[in-house]
Structure formats: C-alpha cells, structure tokens
Subunit: 245 residues, 8 copies
Amino acid sequence: MEPQAALQRLKGGPFRAGNLGFAQIDHHRRLRQGLGEVIFGENKTIEQILAIATEAGVGGAPVLITRLQPEKSAGLSVAFPTGRANAAARTFILHPPPPLAAGTGTPHVAIVAAGTSDLSVAEEAAEVCVAMGVPCERYYDVGVAGIHRLLQRVEALQAATALVVVAGMEGALPSVVAGLLGRPVFAVPTSVGYGASFGGVSALLAMLNSCAPGVSVVNIDNGFSAAFAACQVVRAVWAASAISP
Amino acid sequence: MEPQAALQRLKGGPFRAGNLGFAQIDHHRRLRQGLGEVIFGENKTIEQILAIATEAGVGGAPVLITRLQPEKSAGLSVAFPTGRANAAARTFILHPPPPLAAGTGTPHVAIVAAGTSDLSVAEEAAEVCVAMGVPCERYYDVGVAGIHRLLQRVEALQAATALVVVAGMEGALPSVVAGLLGRPVFAVPTSVGYGASFGGVSALLAMLNSCAPGVSVVNIDNGFSAAFAACQVVRAVWAASAISP
Amino acid sequence: MEPQAALQRLKGGPFRAGNLGFAQIDHHRRLRQGLGEVIFGENKTIEQILAIATEAGVGGAPVLITRLQPEKSAGLSVAFPTGRANAAARTFILHPPPPLAAGTGTPHVAIVAAGTSDLSVAEEAAEVCVAMGVPCERYYDVGVAGIHRLLQRVEALQAATALVVVAGMEGALPSVVAGLLGRPVFAVPTSVGYGASFGGVSALLAMLNSCAPGVSVVNIDNGFSAAFAACQVVRAVWAASAISP
Amino acid sequence: MEPQAALQRLKGGPFRAGNLGFAQIDHHRRLRQGLGEVIFGENKTIEQILAIATEAGVGGAPVLITRLQPEKSAGLSVAFPTGRANAAARTFILHPPPPLAAGTGTPHVAIVAAGTSDLSVAEEAAEVCVAMGVPCERYYDVGVAGIHRLLQRVEALQAATALVVVAGMEGALPSVVAGLLGRPVFAVPTSVGYGASFGGVSALLAMLNSCAPGVSVVNIDNGFSAAFAACQVVRAVWAASAISP
Amino acid sequence: MEPQAALQRLKGGPFRAGNLGFAQIDHHRRLRQGLGEVIFGENKTIEQILAIATEAGVGGAPVLITRLQPEKSAGLSVAFPTGRANAAARTFILHPPPPLAAGTGTPHVAIVAAGTSDLSVAEEAAEVCVAMGVPCERYYDVGVAGIHRLLQRVEALQAATALVVVAGMEGALPSVVAGLLGRPVFAVPTSVGYGASFGGVSALLAMLNSCAPGVSVVNIDNGFSAAFAACQVVRAVWAASAISP
Amino acid sequence: MEPQAALQRLKGGPFRAGNLGFAQIDHHRRLRQGLGEVIFGENKTIEQILAIATEAGVGGAPVLITRLQPEKSAGLSVAFPTGRANAAARTFILHPPPPLAAGTGTPHVAIVAAGTSDLSVAEEAAEVCVAMGVPCERYYDVGVAGIHRLLQRVEALQAATALVVVAGMEGALPSVVAGLLGRPVFAVPTSVGYGASFGGVSALLAMLNSCAPGVSVVNIDNGFSAAFAACQVVRAVWAASAISP
Amino acid sequence: MEPQAALQRLKGGPFRAGNLGFAQIDHHRRLRQGLGEVIFGENKTIEQILAIATEAGVGGAPVLITRLQPEKSAGLSVAFPTGRANAAARTFILHPPPPLAAGTGTPHVAIVAAGTSDLSVAEEAAEVCVAMGVPCERYYDVGVAGIHRLLQRVEALQAATALVVVAGMEGALPSVVAGLLGRPVFAVPTSVGYGASFGGVSALLAMLNSCAPGVSVVNIDNGFSAAFAACQVVRAVWAASAISP
Amino acid sequence: MEPQAALQRLKGGPFRAGNLGFAQIDHHRRLRQGLGEVIFGENKTIEQILAIATEAGVGGAPVLITRLQPEKSAGLSVAFPTGRANAAARTFILHPPPPLAAGTGTPHVAIVAAGTSDLSVAEEAAEVCVAMGVPCERYYDVGVAGIHRLLQRVEALQAATALVVVAGMEGALPSVVAGLLGRPVFAVPTSVGYGASFGGVSALLAMLNSCAPGVSVVNIDNGFSAAFAACQVVRAVWAASAISP
C-alpha cells in the first residue's frame, strides 16, 4: 500500500518538465494518465518531432506521434528502427509496448467502424490502445445501411469493456451499438462525406443527439481521444481487479 | 382515351381561381395533383379558415386543414359535422373520402415513426393519405436504440409502395429502413430533442447524409409534404395499372 | 406467384457478402433495391475500384462507379472495354443494361436542370437511370430567370412518372416544376454559386422550404440518390403493372 | 437654379437636431432623403412615440411610425385624428400626404407579394410609398408554386419604375420577376415558414443568390427599407424629369 | 458461471416489451444496461407518466423520471410515497435503491460543477447515480475564474473512478480537470449564459476541442447521459472485481 | 409613341433563343434589361467562352464576360482585338460602347470602395457601367476607420443618381454613405478579411442590418449585380427624361 | 513600499471564501481586481440575492447586482435604503462609492452609444464605473447613420482614458470611434435589431472585423465586462501616477 | 502645456494623406494612435509593400508590415538592411525603435500563449510592442491542460500593465489568467485545431463567454490588434505619469 501512496503523492506533485526550448516535456504525465507525451505531428517538422520524441522517450517510455505524413513516418522509421509505424493510422510509436491479444474475459476495447472510409480514424484509435498497452478488437465495415452486418457481431461485442465507435455521414452507428450493449460508447464522428456533411458536423450532431444513453462524443476525426478515454476505462478496471495483463 | 386527353388539356390550362379577397382558390389543383386546397391553419383565424374551406370544398372536394389549435378544430367540427378531426395530427378534413384498408398486394403508404414524441407528425402524414384516398399502414415506436423492434416488422414493411419515415434527435431511422427495403423513403426530421438538436436540424442533416440510397428529405415536421409525395407514388402506380381502389 | 414468394424470402434473408478484405460486397442488394454495388470513386485508388468492381460484377451484374477523376475513368475503360463511361457525369458502368427510349406512355424519369453549370450532377442522375434500366428524358437549361424556357416544356414533362430537378444558386426550379405537375419531384441542390451560396446550402434550404407540396430533397450534388429514388418509383409502377420494358 | 443651390448647401449643412432628451430629431433628414423622422414603434411606449412624433411633425412634416401594436395604433388615432392608420401594415402616418394614383406613364412603385402570409410586410412597404408621396400598385398572392398567377400580370408590371418583391419560404419570386422585367427589384425576405426556414434566413439566402441580375436584398421583414429604396428611384426620376406629381 | 451464461443469452435475446398502447416497455433493458426505463417527463402528461412508471416498475425495478415540472413531481410523490424526489434535479425515482456512501477505495463517480447555475444539471447526474446504485461525490462551484477552489480539491478527486464535469459559458472546466487526473471525464455543457453562448453551444464546442485527452462530451444539459456513462465505467469495474457494493 | 408600343410588345414576347447546344442565347434580354448576354467566365473553358461570346455578339451587341483568369483574358484579347479588357476587374467586353464622362447634371453611378483590397470588385462594377453605356465615377479608399477621407467627398457624391458601395471586413461604409445622401445605395460585401469575417459573411450581415434606410445588398463580391441595379436606376431616369446621353 | 508588498502577497494568497451554502464569496477579489462580488441577478431569487449581497457587503464593500427585474430592484431598495438603483441599467449597488465628476485631465471612461435602444447596456456600463469608483462621461445617440452627431463630440472624446462603445444592428460605431482616437476601445454589441441581426451576432461580427486597430470586443449586451476592462485601464493609470481621485 | 494643445489640435485636424495612387498614407495616424502605417502584407506584391513602406517611413517613422511570406520578408531585408525581421511572427519593422527591457515597476505588456502552435500569433503581438516602443514579456506554453505551468508564473504576471493572452482549441486560458489578476486581458483566439474548432471559432466563442470579467476579444489570429490595444493601455499610463521610457 505504501508505493501506492508514494505514487499518489507523485501524481499530484509539482510540475517537473523537461525544457526543450520550443516545447516542455511533462515526464509526470505517464504516471498521472497512463500515456506519456503524445505529439501531434501534422504541423511539426521532422526535426522538431525527432527532438521532442527523443526527450520524451528517455528511459524507454512509449511516445505516440499522430497525424504523420508518409515522409515524416519514413524519417521516424529510419531514426528509430524498433519503433512501430502504422500507415493507415498515420501514427508512429517509439518504444511500443508489446501488443496484447484480447482473450475471453480479458478487459479490452472494441473499435467499431461504419465504413471503409472511416478506417484511418479507427486505426489511430487502435494504435492508442497499443501505446497504452491495452488489448483491442476491430469490428469494421458494419454501417447501419446494411444492419445485418452489425447484428452478426453483437455477441462478440458484448465482451468488450469499452467501445470506440467511428462513423461519418449520418453518424447513426453509435446509437444502434449503445442500444444493444451495456458498456460506455465513445463515439467518433469522421469527416467522411460531402455537401451537407459539413466536414463531419452532421455526424457529430447526430451522435450528440443519440437516443441511446451512455454515448459520449469527441471531436471530429479524433480517434486518439476516444481511444484514450476507452483505455482509461480498462485501466480503471485493472486498478480495481487482478485481471490486468 | 378522349376524356384522358381532355383532362390533360385541363391540367395545363389557364389558372382559374376562386377569388376570396384575401385568398385565391385554385380549383384546378385537384386535377393536377390529386389533392385540392390545403389550408395551413396555424396563423389563420377560424373565420378565415371557414371561408376558405367553404369555397374550396364546393362540389364536395376534400379540403385538408393542418396545424390546427384545439379550439379551431372544435369550431370546424361544429361547422362541418361530417368532417374528420384528428387531434393528435392537429388536422381536419372537410368531405373526407372513405378510408381504405391496405390489404395484401394493395399499393399503400407505410408510415414509420421512431418514438412516441414523433406521433403528431406521423399522424399528420396519415391524414394526408386519408385526404388523398390512399391506404396507409402505421409502424410506430421502432427507433434505432432498440433495433429489434424494427427488425420484427421488416417483412410487413416490404409490402409498402412508398414509405414515410419520421424521426427526431439523431434521425437515423430512415437510413436503417432504406437499407432494408427497395422502395422510396421520404424522411421527415422532427423537432423532437433539445440542446444540439437545434429544433430538428441535427435530424435533418443526418437524413440528408444518409448512406442508404433513395432517401429523400422534407422540411422539419413536414409530415404533410412527405405523405403527399408518397401518395403521388401510389397514384403513379394507379395511373399505370388496374389496382387502384 | 411462387417465385415472387421465393424472391420475397430471399430479400429478407441473412446478409451474404463477398468478403474482399477491405470491402464487403452485398450480392443481395440488387434483389432488394434494383441496383447492385455502387462505388463512390473519389477517394479510392484505381486498384481498389478495379477489385471491388470485378467482385461486384460477377455474373454480369451492372456496377455503377461515381465521382471518377478522368484518369481513373480511362483506366476503367481499358480494363472493361464494354463498359460505359460518361465524362460529364464522371461515371462508369460495368455491364451496362441497354439504354431505353422513353416513348409515349412509357413510365420514365425526367431530369430537369436549371443551368449549364448543373450539367455534371444531372448527367450523374441520367447514368443512374441507365444502370437501373429505367428510361429517362433530359430537360436542361430551363432556369427560373428565363421562365419561358420551362413553360414551353410543361406538356412534355407531364408524361414523366417521376422527376429529378437539379438547381444551384437560389434553388427555385423544383418549386416551379412541382407547382405545374402532379408527380413526385426529387430535388438536387448543386454547389454551383459563390459567396452566400455556401457551397449549395442556400439552394438546399430553398428546396426544403418549397411552397409546392411533394418536393423532397437529397444532399448537395447527390444526383445519384435522387435518381435512385426516382427509379424506385418507376420500378414500383412496373411491379404493379404490365408496362415494364 | 438658385434655390436648388441653396437646398444643396442645406443638405450638406451641419446637423441641426431637435433635442428631446431621450431622442434627437434630425429636421434636415427630409431635405436629404425625402422622408423625415421614421419611428420604429415596437419597443417604445405610447408616450415616447407621441412625444417624438409631435416634435418631428412640427410644421406638418409627414412622420411614419412602424411596427405598431394595435393598442398603440389606437392611441395614435385618438391623439392625431387626421393621421392614417393601416392595421395590416402595423403603421401610422402623422400628416400623410394625399395618396396618388398610378396612371399610365406615371413613375410608380410596384409591390409584389408571394403569399397571403406576406401581406403585412407588403402593406408596410405600401405605407412607406404613401408617406413619401410616391404612387404604388399592389400585386398580391402571385407565388411561384402557381406561376400562372404571376404571368397574367407581367404586362402591367412592366409599367413600374421600381419593384418591391416580398416572399417567404424558398424566396424564389424576385428571381422570376427580375428575369421578366428591366427595372430594379428590391427583394424582401419574410419570416414566413417553419423548421428549416430559420425565421426567413432561407428566403434571404435564396434572394442573395438570385440568378437574375439586378436583384438587391434588404433585411428579413424589412418592407420599410425596400420601399424607401424604391421610392428613391422614383424620386431620382422626378429630379431629372417633369413627370413628378 | 452458469447463471452468467444464462444472463448473457438473455441480454442478447429477442426484444420482449410490455405494450402500453402509447409506449412499449423494454423489461430487458435493465439487464443489458444496468438501468431500466427512463422517462423524459417534460412533454408527457402526469397520467402518461404514471402509467409508464407503473408498468416499468413492475417487480420493484427502479424507474427514473427526468425533466419534471414541480406539479408533476408533486403528483408522483402522492402516487408513490416511497419514491425519491429531487427538486433541484427535477427528477423522481420510483423504487430507489439505497444511496451508497463513497468511502476510501470504493469505486465511485465524482460530479464536478463550475457554477451555482449549473446545479440543476449536476443534480440530475447525481440522481442517475442513485437510480443505478452507484456511489457519487459532489464538487460544486469550482469554476476556472477562481482556479484555487478547484486546486484545493484535486487530491480528493483523484479517488474517483470516473468524472462528470458540468460547465456553461466558456466550458473550460473539463480541460483543467482532465489535465490533472487520469480517469475518464464525461463533460456536460450547460445552457447557462447569454448572447454568444448560444444556449450552450459555445461550451459544447470548447469541450469538444479540449486539449486534454480523454474528455468526451454529451448533449447540452444532458446530465443524465454523462452520469449513465460514468456509472457504466463503475459497473465495468464491479464486473471485473470484488469491490462492488 | 408607336415604336415604344412595339418595343413593349417585343419585351413581353415569346422567348427566342439562339441554341448553341451547351447554352441557349436569349437575344431579347438586351431589349428587356439593357444588357445582353453576360458570361460568368470562371468555370468555362476559353473555347466555350469564345463560342458563346461570338453567338451573343451577333449584330455588334455588347457582351460582358466576368471572373476571367488572366490567360482567358489574353485569349479573348487575341480573338477580339477591339474588345476591352480590364485586368483589375477580371472582365472583358466584346463590342464595348464608348465610355461616357459623368459631367455636372448627368445621371451617373458613383462607385465607392472602402479599401484597396476591394478594388477588384469595384472595378467589375465599373465595367458593368461601361457595358451598359452608363457613366460612372470612382471614389476609392474611403473606409470608415479614417472617416475624414469620405467626408471630403460628400459634396461630389451628392451628384450621383445611384451608388454602388463596396466594403469588406465590418462592412460599415454603406450605412455611413446612405446616411449622408438621398439616393439608392447598392451595397456589395467583399470577401476581404480573415478569421471571423467568414469570407465576407460578416460584412454581408452588417449591410443587411444597416440603420440607414435605402441600403439594399447583393451577394458577396457581386459587383456585377449591384452595378446592374444602379444602371437600371439611371436607365429609369433616361426613360422618363431627355437627359440620356 | 512595504504595504504594497504585503498587498501583493495578499493578492496571490490562498483562496479565502465566505461559504454561504449555495454560493462561495471571494473576499479577496476586490483586492485582486478592484471590484468585489458581482451578482448576476436575472435567474436568482430575491432571497438568494439578499443573502449573497449581505455576506459580500460585510465591512462596507461595494456590491454590484446586474440584470435585475423591477420587482427585485424594488426589494433591494427596501432592504438597503442607502443603496443605488438604476432602472434603465437594471442594476443595484450596495454601498456605492461617491460618484466622481470627470474634469479636465481626470482619467475617466467615456461611454458612447449608437442609438436610444442601446441605452440599457450603456447605463449598465456606467454603473460599473460608479461601483468601481471611476469617473465616466456619457455620449449617447451618436450612431453612424447621422455621422455629424459623432463628429461634433470628437474633441471631448479625446480626453477619455478608455472608451466603451455600445452599438447594435450593423455595429459600425466602434470602428469609426477607434479610427478618430488613440485610446483602447472596448466594443459592446447589443441585441438590438431583428431578422438577420441574429440577436446581436451581426454587430458582434462587425466589431470583431473592425478595420481600426485597438478595438476589442465583449459578449453581446455585456456592458458590465467592457466597463470593467475600461476601469482596469483607469486603475492602471492610477497605480502609476498621482492623479487618482 | 502649449505644445500639448497644439498636438491636440493636430490630432483632430483635417486628414492629410500622402497619395500613392493605389494607397493613401495617413501621416497623422502616428500622432493620433502611437503607431504609423501598418501594412497587411499577405495579399500585396513586394513592389507594393516597398512603395508604401518607403512613403510611410519618410522621416524615420517606424512602419510595421505583417503577414509576410518568407520571400517577401527576405526582399524587405535586402531593401532595408537596418530593418527588423521576425520569421516566427511573419513581420518586418522598418525603422524599429530600440527594444526596451521590462524591469521591475516598468509599465509593460505580458504576452501569454497556451501552446507552441500559438507561437506565431504571440510573436506578432510581441513585434507590435517593439514597433510601438512598449516593453513586453513572453509567457509561452502555459496551456490549461497542465495548469501547474501557469500557476508558477502568476507572481511575475502580476507586474504587467496589460496582458495579451493567446490560445486556440478550447480557448480557456484567458478566463484562468483574468481570474488570477487585476489587469485588462486582451484575448486572441487562434486557428489552431481541427474538426469542431472551425478555424478558431470555438476558441473565439469561449473567450467571448468568459466567466472572468475584463476579458475582451479580438478577431481570430489577430495578435496585432490585441497588442495594439495593450500598448494603448501602457501609453495611457505614460501619458498620466512620469514612468514612460
């Protein structure tokens, strides 16, 4: 019980950041939240990313980098050959923990996606699970316009501890899923669509208006945050039980 | 064939309106479109409604009045004791045609509603069918958060010639219905909801972004226009076949 | 009547999809809805399109591919020399059914377009009719700012079973058309315009607020879905009569 | 020519306002713009209106009061028995100039309204003409869903010097009118409608996107400003010709 | 293990609803989701509410009724004297489970509210916890404009399993809270504010754009759904451990 | 008076268009509206523009082409060496009428622009005047943040028959101008600005809410339509007087 | 210098609030910000207001209450006879400091309002100055549609240390004022207007897009916050000079 | 006192601009507002910028150029070797005043930024201070998701005379800062974010709804105007005291 208390004090302790000049690394975050530095790669140069990742990965801590253009991902693979790149997800993980299989009874995250166009966002979510060391299962291409495809997977879905549900266009999938199950559903609207989809706003609004209770929503295309929340649920289960991997 | 030709000429003929001072009655509309005058009752006085209905109903033509407050509906029932009032639908029909049962094989309209709060709009749609002499079947309380309820009705729904699908909140029902069937789906978003439902806008956007082809959408709460379109489909079938009632 | 019943059971039967890894083909859809797989080509690679089209077209079923950039269309023409490419429509049809002329009395779809800038969307609608084996007639460049052009065509338009009406900017054409005729009007707002057209939103809103009953609306630039619905109307007529081609 | 010059100097002269404590009266405005003080009555008390109107009407200048609730209008009629009240327009004119008939060849304003619900806005426009001493002609209930009604009036409309065109819902009427004529069209969207009419925004957007050149637009329900502009056109004609009444 | 399996089969079983004419009761929902029928009371009559609650509460199942006006709440207290009314929350619980204290180490929900105006929504969340038998702790009036108030409570907040964070106006509280802790934060924007708060939309957008990962958002004023999700997290912990009360 | 009558009949006569396959030329429009075909050049190929311009310019009628990219303008200058190109305005006029100087007392249009960034839209308006044979005067760089610049020009502005006022950002200039003068003001919002200018929407809204009566508004960047309306005012003056050039 | 240091430490010290059960009073705020508790009265009961005001006013500290309905203001006047009520401003000040005249050279706030309808917001701003002990001068009814009225006051306005500029409709006044002067302008959009004013949004957007530098904006109708900021400027001047009253 | 009076007269004097053909330079602005010409460089050619800067810089007046692409900045550095370029800020200052250190007690501006992505806007603000000769201090990377970072800087921040607070995404930083301090906070929303950040609109709305009084807001990414206002506050302090540098 003593190390728990120490950890507790640590979590609330003063901010101790690694100062990099153009960025301050918060080495305590992994203790507080289960995942260390996450680098939003889209508008950073490869040099900036390398510098932050190196500093943040001191001691072998996993570092997740998201929204990577292919050439930056390639650069990272050269610099960190043992890192994990996922082209569909546009992510790279420095010091990835070993991926975990979700067996029967293992607390895990289910990632459910409506269409093939939502794949990139769903895969980003899956890589967050990898970076946080949480098992996950994928359920793709089960959109509501062919409802049979989802219904065939319901029994399997019932085993999940938390769900990330990804959909664009009319964003109806989270409502249907949450109506069938009893676990928290983190809904991710995607920018898939055109015209009155308004870059994902229509899907976002549909999810916020879900008639199924327990659906909560993150920003458009934000697979990262939804998976982060789902992993926090699994980690809460681990903290209270003996089932953690 | 000759009366057909005469009718054809009549349909395209010069506008011949009954002039009432504050409203001009188009006595040709019933020939052109299958339903005579429709009176939007919400902002009209009972006196105005009585005057227009009397003029429009000359010769026994059915006249539909929509968006009626209870006291106006009561006034109409007194003035026209043989008329048909529907409190839930907030409608009154002067000179209603006899309602028709939708038997096996009879071309008819299916009216599908997600929740009990959408009832008023769904009933307005049903009364339009009555006024246009088209049989209809009701399928209520089959929202997507409890998808089993809809799936139990699919076989029955396949008999419909056209469908009016009414839903508020996330507006997902038309996508699911259209994915299961092969008939035109006229979707009606309702203003049911609060907060980010924006008075029905979220449901409207979801329906416009339906991933199921063949879903077309009308204005928020406009059960009238959706049913009108669905009845036009049935009338097109009648025009081309011998099955009309 | 027996094969009808068998077909009926088939339509409601379990989902039987061809699994392609990155896409699941629903071979039952053509039975349910009158058109098999439709591939939204804009964000897919030519390799993905070829793979899906090949799988979906097994047995000679027509496959429609939309939103094709010119180079993808060229690639498809090389791969499928008997396919049908329409550059204006940005579509390709693998295994196109023979186009059908719309003679007097033949149930058909009328495609009405306001301006020359709306041509691409209108042609997409026309190709949907080809893919579904439904005759169609084109009425182009009949916008409301020169209302005489439309009025000269009214008599011809009265022969249509259903109408697809395409317009950008103020989106007024569907109201005028629906006021003159008695058939369902499927309105397609286009993104033609600038400034306060908001990429077609103004036209969309105008159409949703149509003062003519029976106008229903699809997403901006979605000629596909409007034509799909219009063809479903013609197919409903065929199903109930002996007039089908 | 000399009084012209004097007037010209006066128009550009220093601001000379009657100070009323809670409002400053600009007695020069009538010289500059052809209409003196206009009082927006909606949120003012009857006492405030009486005080401002009395001060502004010194010397017999016409004073227009708009957006009057019935009881305020009644109060004004008691206080100013020779004033002119128009219940439909919700206006009152103190010291109204004599109304003028629009004969053949007389420069005048045409006021065109789509539906009976737009009447109030159209009548406000008509009273502005009265207050500014400009003849006007009314063309009501000529909406686009029954286009014949407008076409029958085209010849008469061609005599107008400027047009005020009032419409709610899809706001299509100004486009059709401006396409038929060669005079400036001042379009007034009205708040008539529900759901996606957004209190007149849909009509406003449609008018701003008019495909007919020469359509300019004022705020929703602002019959006053549109008529003011139209009267300025007639006054420009008067200033340059000998035809003024 | 056998009853578990039976329960599992039950959860996925066919829909078995109590049919009430105007509402269908889903008696399986409590098994699936941990809370039986929830009645949105705002637009229902007291008679409807009594009927649904009676049917849904058969066998002593807890029934939550939300958005109750005072007179309806009074009516329910008369009809069900052992029920639990919360005036601030505008809720009533028929057959309330005994409330549970959140001791050290007990999995529980923390409800954090920014200002006194957000109290009603926060209390609705608290009553959901009561209805679902989950302990909760309240942290009220800790808005970001006086950040010291929140910082004093951080240590206590770290004991929570999941958090519901309620805020109006600029909606900044969830970001600050999620940055300090490592548990899932369910953010509830409230309609508190005026002008550019747009009825809670500004707070909603701020929460969706949270720079702290793991914040997920529900509809404006939807304390119910956020608490439902938070309780599902606690229930997931219970399901995997021996700590459930 | 007889040719007047003949012209009148002509104006209302049947639509007689030159059919070009992809475009129908309305040779009557110049009679009806004072300007023949106007070609929106932005999305047309140089070949299409040349074909339409050649057909529309038959008989030496002026043809205005707007929104021209430089290379298209160059192509037109080669094809039509006597045409008039204005690079700033992005326009070309085939068969331009001789430009007219606006002397004292000559009815003319004043074009007023707030900033140097609004120049392109203002110049488009000026070219419309040239194409319609109406004199115009330019008043540029007189924005409200340095109000002295406008006040120095007031006396000159009072000579105008109608005004086109062009402004971006806060769009305040039309209100100030209309408050100083007694002629119709056609306001053009421009897309100049960033952030919350929303591509000109803020300026558009400001103009629609002008507290100065007689301001009417056209679409964002639509210098064409505003100048067209202003020229119609001048033409109305010409029609009624002997002052036309 | 020592008490300064003590004060400085106090300002940053731990939060010491008076706990009232339903509200926590921050007695340090007056030291930090120059004004103690401000009570938003609109949705609080008179009992709540009395309790908070009594607690907050301990020791004679001024307490400002805003957005008061008349009956609550009356109740406060009875309870606190020496308090200061301003009906137009809808405010009440408990323990008001003596109002200060703004003489030549005295740092003060100028409050500038466009129209008589903006009076309420402007007066709220003035009362904030009173509560904070800062002199202010009023400049009302100087809207841009009669620009002479503002120009006559420029010399007086140049004496102000900071300005609060209040305007509805097109919101142009702050731009004109800031262009003429060299002091910070705090702009307050008001909800005055109708139709496309969208409850003050149009004025808000115009102010955010001001072409005059140094204009900053607060929420719609938020005279309180603008005056608070302006008083902070005057207090910064006092802190650095010997001119404070 | 006499030169003061002369200066005063000068400030209000007639507009005396240097006319450059395509731009009018207002040489009085520096007297009125403390900063001469500011050139928005984004859409101007390097030739235009050079010409305006040369004319505006006559006599050694500082000229600020903003929103410069790198190649334009390079061109300016060649043309004006003694000028000051800031690549991060995208600015150039011709004739920069010497930068000033902000010592204890010196009135100065604090520039506070939430994240590294907001750097460009924050640096633009800093360069405005340089151009206006006002000292400033930077506080970067102190976003609310790691609130400790801000709290460590509070004591230092209390020395500032005015603050510019820059933040994107949920825009919460200004509320927290203003709650801790007693100086005017000028908030700058940035376009940092994606999806429902709507290019900075979410941050803008959050700031307008700040629950901390004294926060005023400028346009998205408008570091220039916020710093301009903050410098005006410092200049007001200078004008009233002997502390100016």
